[in-house]
C-alpha cells in the first residue's frame, strides 16, 4: 500500500478487479453492489485467480451470482483493472442501492493506443455487449442468465472481450 491520503483509502495494487454487479429489475438493468450503486473495486493478490477472487467476494457480500465473467481490461488506478460483470438474480440484491444502467457510447482508442480516461458508463456498455456475445456463443452462460436477460441483451451489439 502506498502512502495514503490522510482520512481516506482506496483499492490499489498492480491487478484490481472492477465488479459491475448487475440485476434485472423489470426490464431495466440495474447497477448495484455492497458499496452502493457503483463499480466495486477489489484487490487481486499476486498469484490469485481474479475469477475466483471475484466470484468468492461477490458470493460473500451479495449472494450467489448467476454469471461472473471478465469483459474487458484497461490500465487505470495505478495498475491493470480487470472488469467483471456479476449477474445476480433480482432476489439476491435485496435492498442494496441500485441505479438503472443507461446506454452509453463506447470509448474507442487509436489503433495502437488506448483511449484516455474512461467513465463507468462505457465500461458497463461494453460489459453488456460482451454478455450479449456470450449469450449467443456459450450455451452455459445463456442457460445461467436469470429470466428476462436474453431479451434485454438482444438490444446490445455482441462484442468479445477486449482492451478498453
Amino acid at each position: 500500500m502506498t502512502a495514503p491520503q490522510l482520512g481516506s483509502f482506496t483499492v490499489e495494487g498492480p491487478v484490481q478487479a472492477e465488479i459491475m454487479v448487475l440485476a434485472l429489475v423489470g426490464d431495466d438493468v440495474m447497477l448495484t453492489g455492497p458499496c452502493g450503486a457503483a463499480p466495486w473495486y477489489v484487490e487481486v493478490a499476486q498469484g490469485a485467480d481474479p475469477m475466483v477472487v471475484v466470484a468468492a467476494i461477490t458470493r460473500a457480500n451479495v449472494g450467489e451470482p448467476a454469471v461472473v465473467h471478465s469483459t474487458s481490461w484497461r490500465q487505470a488506478r495505478g495498475g491493470v483493472v480487470l472488469t467483471f460483470v456479476a449477474v445476480m438474480d433480482q432476489a439476491a440484491i435485496g435492498a442494496l442501492d441500485r441505479v438503472a444502467v443507461r446506454r452509453a457510447e463506447l470509448v474507442r482508442g487509436a489503433a495502437t493506443a488506448a483511449p484516455g480516461e474512461i467513465a463507468a458508463g462505457p465500461v458497463i456498455e461494453h460489459g453488456l455487449r460482451h454478455l450479449a456475445w456470450l449469450a449467443k456463443d456459450d450455451a452455459v452462460i445463456a442457460g445461467a442468465l436469470p429470466a428476462g436477460w436474453l431479451a434485454v441483451l438482444d438490444d446490445y451489439v455482441p462484442e468479445p472481450f477486449r482492451h478498453l
Binding site: 502512502a3 490522510l6 481516506s8 483509502f9 482506496t10 458499496c35 473495486y41 493478490a45 477472487v53 457480500n61
Partner: protein
Amino acid sequence: MRKRVSCDCGWSFEGEDAELIAAVQEHGRALHGMEVTAEQALAMAQPT
C-alpha cells in the same frame, strides 16, 4: 483521540484507535480483498 477514516467506496468509520483499526481491516478484507496493517489504518485516519 477519536479519528475518522473513509473508503473511496463511500464507507466511513469514526472511533478510537483500536476499534478504528479493526473496522478498517474488516472492511478492507471483506469488501475489497485488502490486507491493511494497523499502522496503515492509523496512518490513513484523520483526527476529528
